[in-house]
Symmetry: C2
């Protein structure tokens, strides 16, 4: 951790958190972020208001170590997507556990990563906002250790970057990754011809811009079955590899390290498998960008991990002891107007609903000191802005005032609903808290 | 505006906003919130980063006056739902324009309203969190002018409130509204018998709790057609009215003002029409709770206003000059990898998608000083976390680097994605900014 990072994180630790933050005890005196873990709070003892979001540190620790073992086993690097959590404290944890850098999606996210001292950043997006372009170039000039990469998928965008970089006169080139895409998909060159045209534009923009490798995002690919999806992902990763190979053959890339990067949180194993011994014609550094492994989830990524287990790319030791869900949202039952239909204090403002609805995982009667697994047959059937509809059997165990915990599906869109998330041990003692910046 | 409000708002105005807030110029020096309007910034001149959210003050002014005229015309009160914007600055605007109080959905929202000096609050929800109950009672004790109402729909919840209120010994009763609901709907008593049981429990809890009226939320009712929905809403509002009538006949309510409150942002006219001359057996104060009228939108509520026009409850003068969309999210085109398919710098983290996708409304070529209406045939077809898919004809006017503005459908879930929203005039000069607290 460099000095900027430690100073900024110390300042964050010293910042006062008060009850304008959702989840902070109602009307409690403000507490420094870094001292929240010293308050002796416990979720089940009624020290926190509801709803409240917590991260289980046992799962975070396990997951962080898990991914480091996976990437070492495969001989690849990890540049986790910071957009998932947007928490500088978690970024530092990921870097300390061996991450090569941090990935971001926007200039605001880039700025947060820089404020908190991240020195190697992939912006897995086109850099298009003039304010963002000027900022990146100014940061490169100010900090010789700032290693920044962004994507390009059109000659027009390359020319725009090259022109502004020429004016800024940083003294070293802006590092670009040639983005490959898929027809009907998202950004990125659809064909080798498009990719070659972009590479040509970068070469024409030298020495202000330089191509440092290839990039793609396979996470948007869907399929009729897990096997079909995996086959399509593999074909796309092979297409990206073929761009790298041609680039090496035709000297698109500058002297020095060549990077190939892909890999969201569902098929990172396929990317590692395709590329770790890839026939590129020169050494290539393979960089995965998974973001959700750190907290995992109780829906989308839990299911997708079963596919990873079946594919058998990760070693059996890793596949049998995969990531665990760390993120939970705790609520109160506020009304049971019909038998088997409860309303909990959690809505669209508090939890993800874009991939699937939250999953009831645990339940604790009012006043109880511990929680029990939620019996089968309970499910969230709908969310309003501030209400969750929990359907269960007519003899469901919960009563008005009881606590119900939910796992999430797709962590990203739960993280962005909380500026303050508690760190808890397995007994729900609060051991700390993180801030997010969305 | 009382002293607490003006002190707290002055303190908010003095708070420093920096580029850790999404939408603040990248790497600019921090500016006090109250001085953002003095910076001479203009969205189209490139002074703001993208994406950015703005509120058109001409529309806000119009809408605020519109609703005040509507409620006066109908002879009812307005207690706008603060959950929509969660902006204390907008709450004060609404109160200054004649609102009777502010509605909230959660104890955190209640707390924000109290920090910023709102003295009359309806919590349109059960008050169930022990921390929240204790807070309300402490606030009632501290501030004799604090007028608070919350909902009850079960004897168990009433007993819980009465017991804690008894211990707190505030010296005046906690004011409750008997919530009516609809089978298969959300919270609230489904039948008159259930309502009578709740009323009996409140009477048994005297003098610590008191029933002050009835409440319901018709906004969750759907129908096969606008007419079908309107008929169901009317039937539900009549059911709530019958609870009020029986309560008056059987002395469920304490001496003093009796309140009947319902009315979201789509069918508030039906509520006013049903109740303003209601045959309750005693005078009843009718309180609407619409929240979205202030910003309106470009989807859900725009469509629903056509139904209001057709129903003819609002006067022709008001119906012909209804609310205007105030909230826009501006983005940049970052990639056009296929003809007619653009990717804009806006995703699920930046804009609502829960009711329908954002609507492209305007477009401004890079460097242009003004914006043009977006031609027909352009639509958002998908959002990822940080990307928007804009589909248009192969000869769509936008190019990489151009600016595209989107209207939203359902303002609530766009507001909660921005802590900082600019106020702009019709030429997109920044005249100020609001903070939100989610």
């Amino acid at each position: 951790m460099d000095r900027t990072a430690s100073t900024a994180l110390a300042s964050l630790d010293a910042s006062l958190i008060d009850d304008t933050f959702k989840g902070f005890p109602t009307a409690a005196q403000p507490v420094k972020l870094g001292e929240i873990g010293k308050q002796g709070w416990n979720l089940l003892k009624g020290d926190l208001p509801f709803p409240v979001a917590v991260l289980k540190t046992s799962a975070i620790d396990h997951n962080s170590r898990w991914m480091d073992r996976f990437r070492k086993e495969q001989g690849v690097e990890l540049c986790p997507h910071g957009k998932t959590t947007m928490s500088p404290q978690l970024f530092q944890r990921q870097l300390a556990d061996g991450a090569w850098g941090i990935t971001v999606a926007t200039t605001q996210q880039l700025r947060i990563s820089r404020v908190y001292g991240v020195s190697r950043v992939i912006m897995a997006n086109q850099l298009i906002d003039p304010q963002g372009i000027r900022y990146v170039l100014a940061e490169m000039k100010r900090d010789p250790n700032f290693e920044f990469y962004c994507l390009v998928d059109s000659p027009a965008a390359v020319q725009r970057l090259a022109e502004i970089a020429k004016t800024a006169n940083v003294g070293r080139p802006l590092r670009l990754l040639l983005e490959g895409g898929i027809a009907g998909g998202r950004t990125g060159c659809r064909t080798m011809e498009q990719a070659a045209a972009v590479a040509k534009a970068v070469l024409a923009g030298a020495p202000h811009v330089i191509l440092r490798g290839v990039e793609g995002f396979e996470g948007i690919i869907d399929g009729a079955s897990p096997e079909d999806r995996a086959a399509k992902v593999r074909a796309f990763v092979d297409f990206l590899g073929s761009i790298a190979k041609r680039g090496i053959a035709e000297n698109w890339f500058g002297a020095g390290e060549i990077i190939a990067t892909a890999g969201g949180s569902a098929e990172f194993d396929i990317v590692a498998d395709a590329w770790r011994n890839g026939d590129f014609g020169a050494p290539v550094k393979v960089v995965l960008r998974s973001g959700c492994y750190l907290t995992h989830d109780s829906g989308l990524y839990e299911n997708r991990f079963h596919d990873i287990q079946k594919r058998g790319i990760a070693s059996t030791a890793l596949a049998n002891n995969g990531p665990k869900a760390a993120l939970e949202v705790w609520t109160l039952v506020q009304s049971i107007p019909e038998p088997g239909l409860a309303f909990v204090t959690m809505g669209k403002r508090d939890v993800s609903f874009d991939v699937s609805l939250p999953v009831p995982i645990a339940w604790s009667p009012a006043g109880a000191a511990s929680a029990e697994p939620m019996p089968k047959g309970n499910a969230v059937i709908k969310l309003n802005d501030q209400h969750g509809y929990l359907k269960g059997p007519a003899d469901a165990p919960w009563k008005v005032g009881d606590r119900v915990a939910f796992g999430v599906s797709h962590p990203c869109t739960t993280f962005d609903r909380w500026q303050l998330i508690y760190l808890v041990d397995d007994a729900y003692n609060v051991t700390g808290a993180i801030r997010t910046f969305f």
